[in-house]
């Protein structure tokens, strides 16, 4: 991962509001789900091709993989990619750029 790095945490809450104004809330997810946006630049050809081969190898969002959070080293055993496409721009031999978003899968 390179700077700027983004990480988000998402909960899913359902709120029921009653006529007296009170609310009942409950969470849909067993645990919050994490998401990482990985933007990479100044990759060489080999690194860029390796990313695209990984994307192809797991059939994009269809595949699961383990991801270690670079912020704190926590291993998330079931993650997937968010997008059906990956674009790699090779602006020069040592100037490749790409971006992927990793999602933690819910259970």
């Amino acid at each position: 991962m390179q700077y700027p790095a983004q990480r988000s945490v998402e909960f899913s809450t359902t709120a029921l509001q009653f006529v007296d104004g009170s609310e009942q809330r409950f969470c849909n997810y067993q645990a919050p789900l994490h998401r990482w946006v990985i933007r990479l630049s100044l990759l060489d050809q080999s690194e860029l091709q390796e990313f695209q081969e990984f994307f192809r190898g797991i059939a994009g969002p269809a595949g699961d993989f383990a991801f270690t959070d670079p912020w704190d080293g926590t291993n998330y055993p079931s993650c997937s990619l968010s997008s059906d496409s990956i674009a790699g721009v090779l602006a020069g031999e040592w100037n490749g750029q790409t971006s992927i978003t990793v999602l933690e899968n819910g259970s």
Binding site: S12, N28, Y29, Q30, L33, D44, Q45, S46, L48, Q49, E50, Q52, E53, F55, R56, G57, A59, G60, P61, A62, G63, S80, D84, S85, I86, A87, G88, V89, L90, A91, G92, E93, N95, N105, G106, S107
Partner: protein, 264 residues
Amino acid sequence: MLYYPQLTTGAVTQFPVTRSINMRTVGNQLSSGYTIRMADTGAQKIQWRLQYSSLTDGERSSIESLFEASQGQLDTFTFLDPADNLLMWSEDWTQTVWTADPLLQVSGGVSDALGGDDAMQLTNTAQTTQQIVQNTNGPSGFVYCYSVYLRSGVPTTVQLVVTATGQTVLTAVTTGSSWSRATASGSLSVQEEGVGFGVQLPAGAQVEAFGAQVEAQPGAGLYKKTIDLGGVYSSTRFSSDLLLVTATAPNQNSCQINLISNLT
């Protein structure tokens, strides 16, 4: 057979190159956050955006000729991916895409040039030369750079093989005890559909080989590992029925080309 042309430099394109891989995934997200996902493999595509500037009139003409011959996005042609290794299974020469002579033993699990264990050991048990070759669907008349990492326990002279029907070019390289990247660059004079690349060993020789790579350009780029897909796309199309070329000066042209191919 139609082929996407090389420039006069021998390269397929100029920087920047944009290469996109597109999948189609059928997904169902449950309220618990759990998702069920299935890949729709038939819909997998790969796309390239090639941006050209300062093309000569001849280079412009060759692209326009292909566009006219393929009738825009109607017909397909073969495209050699400028951002990939044209060989398949670059580190596993036991795969069927590699054709070895009968008395050439090929085994894996050897420490490689990049710190892994993915190099191959090639042992010629015959009394004559033996070779291992992978054929690709590229045109034999293109400029290629073939490269492979080699080493051996004792100095050995092996031949890098570039072959097509009617012509074989051998390039002698001497291997040493440490990994070195041998390259063979050039084009064959015959105009055939298909060209093969490999290594030929003298009788009794044993060498270790790793990271075979072929690129449709005069010089070797950084090594790119491949498995079941190489960079030769035989069913590529233009993405558009329109080809717009801008002449910026005499013999100076620029354009942008969008190509698409099935990934499988």
